[in-house]
Amino acid sequence: MDDRLIISGIEFLSRLWVGTGKYRDFEETRTAIEASGADVVTVAVRRVNITDTKKENLLDYIDPKKYKILPNTAGCYTVEDALRYSRLARESGISDLIKLEVIGDEKTLFPDTLGLLKATEILAKEGFVVLPYTNDDPVMARRLEDAGAAAIMPLGAPIGSGLGIRNPYNIKIILETVKLPVIVDAGVGTASDAAIAMELGCDAVLLNTAIAGAKDPIAMASAMKHAVIAGRLSYRAGRIPRKLYATASSPIEGIL
């Protein structure tokens, strides 16, 4: 069965996308990402440490030939900053993808969707593959689609909160509202959360803290891999309707 994930002509081999933040060290990052089976990894854009340039770099461990590198604009609170980080990320020559974040509030890290929309429009025109991190708001999802986004990435819950998919009905409505792929980004806390996102019909799940912050990140990476595969298969298989009362699985006929 053909079940490929294609975004802007790019084929993605996994429906689990993972971040590279908050790991103990690069070795753990590499091992966890391998265990997750993800072929997309997010990275942040930051100043090079010029006082110690011999220090190892993330890309010594995460080979851009093997993984699709998805730079983010984390930490950007204005459209201007988000554009600046996006353009710098692209100029590195490693990726045209951008996980666009325009943050509106420090405490919740909820997106400033007005700024996000503006930045999406500008970057899409500049040829970026724009993947905006947005609210679980179907109206904004449609606006982002119209503005040229390549996929919609609604949050399940605040970044790093591990609260799971707080509003599955809105995610469902987003899936019905836009034609673009929908990737739940942020909020996943454990494997069942990832499975729920996929069972709703999401095209992929992006997470970081749920793996990096687990007691055993490597084991959790593997759990997430299986959860996303199970959730996707389950969605495609078509679940039974929920009913209030029982229906026997064994036949009545032949009962003594």
Binding site: G21, V43, V45, V48, I50, N57, R84
Partner: protein, 72 residues
């Protein structure tokens, strides 16, 4: 003598005064930074990689050199 005068640059927010580099390429080499993995901005304008060889730095320039780090 070519290096009688050292430029004062600001690199990633820090003052740098004893650098010999006059171009981006030379600056990255002097700082031992792999140009393939970074992006460079001078006075808020991004410098394209093809221009690293001939982009000449000026006294007082503010240079930002960024790369990718772990993030979500």
């Amino acid at each position: 003598m070519r290096f009688l005068f050292f430029m004062r640059l600001k690199i990633n927010g820090e003052s740098a005064e004893n650098l010999r580099a006059t171009t981006i390429r030379e600056l990255l080499e002097e700082l031992q930074i792999d140009s393939g993995r970074v992006a460079v901005e001078v006075n808020l304008s991004i410098i394209k990689k093809v221009d690293y060889n001939h982009y000449t730095l000026n006294d007082g320039d503010s240079v930002e050199i960024v790369n990718f780090v772990g993030g979500g």
